[in-house]
Subunit: 300 residues, 2 copies
């Protein structure tokens, strides 16, 4: 079978439409405007472009939104003080520090200084703990995006065999924590395979997955004969495997061998264009949730 | 084959011997005496007996140890103030509130008021988050006890197939988080099955487990023909299935059908006498770790 493409940009656009309506409702009914500050240290072009995209989207959705650019030589203490200022600002519900920060700054110290209820990246240990406990307000953007893609394209993962390849703190581990919960969009049997898993077992597990979520960091790692007929394959990998001679742009590949796997799967995310376009939208969703949390409209 | 019994009391005694030496060393080299306060609200006989056992063990190990008994009608505010007092006390490194607390008190509010670095039960979201992130000082006592039993009796779970039956916040979920880490005593391929898993899949997963950890809360749930020849079976269940006519005492059964499973497994924990005797010892281990954390001898 030839898999149906899960187009992240389309799903993301749909979620943004839903969010836009919700933001209008929050304004009308509760006089509540979600507020997001993005903090950028230095001028790394990649980071500038990410932050710009986040600001653009938050404006489109009607957020109150601030871009705070700081020089690359800002001290750690000054950055921590800045975060504390935003922690205290009731108009701001989400605080995002664009990573990476310069090397003289301890990124964990910075991330852990953010009020957990404003930590819309969900990297703070309190939020990681809330996720595993199953009582959370928001999820880290990439695994949350994967969950939305699965639910909206493939369907309810309840009772399905989910196999997560990889155990990073940004994708694999939270993905496991999310999918084992007794909650809508989850409630799956979950296996986590990783670099400690022998290769033969790795293949065995992939082969029995109804839903295969891959964040291995190895280009084209998952082969067509590792995938069950009809599986839903979510490829989180973004690997630069070369440069186009024509355009000079990077050639990207996922962690899945798209050519062979798309012949077996029923649904597959392309790279680029699958998981990637979801992350900013999930950040927006988290910011709306943070605003509702601050206003007492949702409770933990 | 007839399984070898994993005797929790013996393993626990061995760990307490190690801890006793470590406590002597900490006193001699660092003038550091691990301090534990156990807080008991009311006079529930079961809770009194648990707290008494915890105090007895901490005294045996040479801890500075306080038992603080509070009346059942203590207000939530007073209990929170008490915890804050102990949070500030540098001689106390571990704070344990014996559960359950009376119904007029919000137990989560109480548990979450404990300084995470003194939270030797490891129930605080910060500690749950640290565990999943893989940068932790201590683990919740029951899954930590399971990990020790596996490592010391069966051997290194690295690269093995671990199947966790159950997803409670006290056992199943932290067990998954612990065993997927790239750390000594873990690094296993982990599958979590639970009430959302169809029965046929549940059995399939159990059958391929090298290490089967069961916290299902259903007496004698796991059958002999669900278990792989030579597997290591850890039974966390404690179910009262009747009362002895002779003694009037409760008859206990685990979540594993011991009679049939012990014919297949290579190692099995009995109930009682398997996981149960480990928990207080793991609490002691956490208290020693909390003392070292406070003294800067270990870092997160």
């Amino acid at each position: 079978m030839a898999a149906k493409l899960i187009k992240g940009a389309e799903v993301a656009a749909q979620i943004r439409e839903e969010l836009k309506k919700e933001v209008e409702d929050l304004k009308a009914k509760h006089n509540l405007i979600p507020g997001l500050v993005t903090i950028l240290v230095g001028e790394d072009p990649g980071s500038v472009s990410y932050v710009t995209a986040k600001q653009k989207t938050s404006h489109e959705l009607g957020f109150y939104s601030i871009q705070d650019s700081q020089p690359p030589d800002i001290t750690e203490a000054a950055l921590l003080a800045l975060i504390e200022k935003y922690n205290q600002d009731p108009k701001l519900h989400g605080i995002l520090v664009q990573l990476p920060v310069p090397k003289h700054i301890d990124s964990n110290k910075v991330l852990y200084a953010i009020d957990p209820n404003k930590d819309v990246d969900a990297f703070h240990p309190v939020n990681v703990g809330r996720i595993l406990i199953g009582n959370y307000a928001f999820l880290p953007c990439t695994p949350a995006g994967c969950q939305e893609l699965i639910y909206r394209a493939y369907g309810d993962p309840k009772g399905k065999e989910v196999v997560v390849v990889g155990r990073s703190n940004i994708v694999g581990k939270p993905m496991v924590a999310i999918m084992i919960q007794k909650r809508a969009g989850a409630n799956a049997t979950v296996t986590c395979v990783h670099t400690g898993t022998p290769k033969d077992k790795m293949i065995e597990h992939c082969r029995r997955a109804d839903i295969l979520i891959v964040a291995a960091g190895v280009p084209k790692y998952i082969q067509g004969d590792w995938v069950k007929e009809g599986a839903c394959v979510i490829d989180v990998g973004v690997n630069r495997i070369g440069k186009s001679e024509k355009t000079g742009k990077a050639i990207l590949a996922g962690d899945v061998d798209f050519e062979s796997v798309s012949q077996k799967a029923s649904f597959i995310t392309p790279v680029p264009g699958g998981v990637g376009p979801m992350t900013i939208t999930m950040l927006m969703k988290n910011t709306v949730m943070a605003a509702k949390l601050a206003a007492g409209l949702v409770k933990l």
